[in-house]
């Protein structure tokens, strides 16, 4: 079965090895911790952008509540992945917790785009192996990067900009998928207000609160005026 699963996961291999390596290098050049913490994070957290953000939060010694809130909203898009897989994972028994745990962007897109047979148990076993293969690539990438960053001497000043670059890329991808620009302006505006008015240690939570309130207020208003947009919009 692995011979049919492996080719399916190749695109993820080519994405996760370099990104995991980038995380690992960032981790061991920015922080003083033991190298194996990087793959450990890949095993128990398993989130690309989340772990890269975590490096910057660790460097700033952020409070645990801020860490929780920041990681939650950064990964909030996963809330909406699960909704479309409720039926597919039904009856997966012991496989189910891991299928849910490993639901990254890339795994989600593989699971939802592949052809499936009628044999439910067999298909869930394939889903399970796809998820496990993908996480292996990610953890291997984290390990390579952490060891590289520790052992290869180079001037890494400025390498932390990988985080900013990643967020810019994800913003553009969101904008393209959405076809509407206003959420970008809400996010950018909230960031500007937070940076301007709030001390650095609370800017992230402050900006998240602003974005959430604006979206909720906007939702309340569209409900009130009855101009709810259709889901096919954009």
């Amino acid at each position: 079965m692995n011979r049919t699963v492996f080719p399916l996961t190749l695109p993820v291999l080519f994405g996760y090895l370099p990104l995991g390596t980038a995380f690992g290098v960032l981790f061991s050049t920015q922080l003083e911790y033991a190298w194996w913490i990087a793959p450990l994070m890949g095993i128990v957290i398993y989130a690309g952008a989340g772990q890269i953000l975590a490096v910057s939060l660790l460097a700033a010694h952020a409070g645990l509540l801020e860490v929780f809130v920041a990681m939650f909203v950064l990964n909030a898009r996963h809330l909406f992945y699960g909704l479309s897989l409720l039926g597919r994972f039904r009856g997966a028994r012991w496989r189910k917790p891991y299928l849910i745990f490993g639901l990254t962007d890339e795994t989600y897109s593989l699971l939802t785009s592949r052809a499936r047979s009628e044999d439910r148990e067999h298909e869930q076993e394939i889903d399970f192996r796809i998820t496990a293969f993908n996480q292996c690539y990610w953890v291997i990438g984290c390990t390579i990067g952490a060891l590289l960053g520790k052992n290869v001497a180079f001037d890494s000043t400025g390498i932390e900009f990988a985080l900013v670059s990643l967020f810019i890329v994800l913003t553009i991808d969101q904008l393209k998928a959405l076809g509407e620009g206003f959420p970008i302006w809400i996010g950018a505006g909230a960031a500007a207000i937070a940076v301007w008015l709030i001390p650095p240690s609370h800017q992230l939570i402050g900006a998240i609160a602003i974005v959430s309130s604006v979206l909720l207020a906007q939702y309340a208003r569209t409900r009130e005026t009855g101009i709810e947009r259709g889901s096919e919009h954009g």
Binding site: V67, F72, L74, R77, D155, S165, I172, A191, A194, L215
Partner: protein, 112 residues
Amino acid sequence: MAEELYVGGFIAAAALATFATRVIPFLFLHRHTDHPLIKHLGRYLPAAVMALLAGIFLQRSADWSLSAPGADALIPGMLVVGVHLWRGNALLSIAVGTASYMVTQQTGWLAS
């Protein structure tokens, strides 16, 4: 010792938050998939959060005391936008942005 405790707590908080976003739909939301509020947030929250993170961390990367304030981060940031709109390859865009920022930081180019 305190440092090990902090890292342990940090990883636990990050792992818990990440897993929560993945498991909540399976635990609580299965009866509300069509709720308009969930649809509204599902459509707009991810984009707004990404823009927020890009904004905050871009501001923190920049040196605003330069004669061209913030140029050391804004130019690499614009390169990321340009390369990504041009080629649409995430890894390439990140590599170009990071490399150009490393150049501005290590050469002191733009500093005056």
